[in-house]
Point group: C2
Chain length 338, copies 2
Amino acid sequence: MARQQHAAAPRKGEDALSALIALVRADLDACNRLIVERMQSDVALIPQLAAHIVAAGGKRLRPLLTLAAARMCGYRGSRHVNLAACVEFIHTATLLHDDVVDESALRRGQASANALFGNKASVLVGDFLFSRAFEVMVEDGSLEVLRILSAASATIAEGEVLQLITQNDTTTTEAQYLRVIEGKTAALFAAATEVGAVVADQPPARQAALREFGMALGIAFQLVDDALDYSADQQALGKTVGDDFREGKITLPVLLAFARGSEEDRTFWRRTQEDREQSDDDLAHALELMRRHGALDDTIRRARRYGEQAIAALASFPDTAEKTALANVVAFVTDRAR
Amino acid sequence: MARQQHAAAPRKGEDALSALIALVRADLDACNRLIVERMQSDVALIPQLAAHIVAAGGKRLRPLLTLAAARMCGYRGSRHVNLAACVEFIHTATLLHDDVVDESALRRGQASANALFGNKASVLVGDFLFSRAFEVMVEDGSLEVLRILSAASATIAEGEVLQLITQNDTTTTEAQYLRVIEGKTAALFAAATEVGAVVADQPPARQAALREFGMALGIAFQLVDDALDYSADQQALGKTVGDDFREGKITLPVLLAFARGSEEDRTFWRRTQEDREQSDDDLAHALELMRRHGALDDTIRRARRYGEQAIAALASFPDTAEKTALANVVAFVTDRAR
């Protein structure tokens, strides 16, 4: 299906991200150069496959958070560039492994690495990028950074495994769902911002505040993502529509529609999500049930509340352009759902 | 097919491993306890799947090397127990990812984790164990250890990707093959022994010597493994016979038989290994060609030479029971091929 062109004015959220990028432009350029430099290997397939995903124009949201957080803390060195690259390597490794796990055919609107290069290469290049991230952290030399990012990596894996377990299970609780998205998404956001405080030698309270900011922002991000998976608009994001529905991934929109629905509705959800017996009209019916029960609106509302929590976590930092830019990233994250 | 019982006297190699185990029994027990303790997660599938592979009775060869190397260097503390567990976690993570990559149905004579729990869970639990290894290293606090094991992890991934590239390619060179086995196997042996020297605060020359020992031992180990894959005897190891042949994995026995064979032989190898067109008699014919060209004997001979190199690397260490035990591990590795 053709990608739709949106000729309309840029969204408020996109402006916010542009402002952040403009603020750390030089750092981001250095980070991008470092990413390309450090994903090299004389085993040529590794940079080829890595380039497909690393250099193929993701938003670099997580490394941007590290860069901006460090600058907001008054950091003037260049270590944050290296650590932002580590964050992006870890993110990329999890994407490669996710696509194998999800058997996704598309990633960022393009053929996914596993579809192009095969599952085997995707698993192994993910392992390589993950190891390389730790090598770069070791060169940086901070055990605290290593502690934060190794813990985040373990938490990501736990979140992904829990997602696997809750898939096709309509008895999943909201608490379990929250644990999944904290793990698979928010843990790395939290680590990305916390590391910014660590390189800037901030006191523990500041470090904790930036961690809280990243965690709340990450949860908001994933809530919006899960709502967008049921939104026609998401074609603009280059994703397949209704992926989660087809796979029976139990996200908040489904949990809310299920909890608020009639027994007949629940039979529908069990058939399509647990038994994965789906016919052509089922996605449209799912959307109708979500609309009827306000499931998408309430998911977005929940995201905005986490967004407010993220902004509140920044209260103790002096007002700077970086602080404003980071606070506005919340708008970028939640306005995607407009 | 039924596993054969060998009622004969234990092999010299097995005696060697038993002697090593006896020498570091208390350390090994502590290491095994730590492995079980640190693979826990409240996401229950993680310890379940990990237990299937971690606790299912591998030889613990790599952690044994770390334990014995540290003791040979006169180390009297307990850090080596933690680091031996890290080495085993990294090894286990690569096994889980390997089995996904190889689509293996068996591992150590039992159903492999991917066959029992699915590829997705195997990828993710591998990621978890890998991350956990780094968390434990961070707690230990040595950047040098982190450097050695993160570099080894990247090299392992490179070796595995190179193996993927050379698979089904009979133009693979011996140099490429050596690079594959150095990466996928010997790098972790080398790191395991080097780390033993690091905890014992040994001078750089000693550290390099123990690294060399592990590297040569690891190459010998993989050479023997690759020969055993064409040996009927290997049923005793709990592996499927002829796996490499069926998959078209280009190992030294194939390279030697190919290089020494007639044009007709090469047509056979290209058909079975590159095109993977195989009939029932082909494995027997492959074995006959290897026998005719001394391919298995020469692979084992090569392994013994690396074994001698490993023993020579220990020359500068004082004669102790640990040194003798480590030198005898070479016999354990090469005598498997008897």
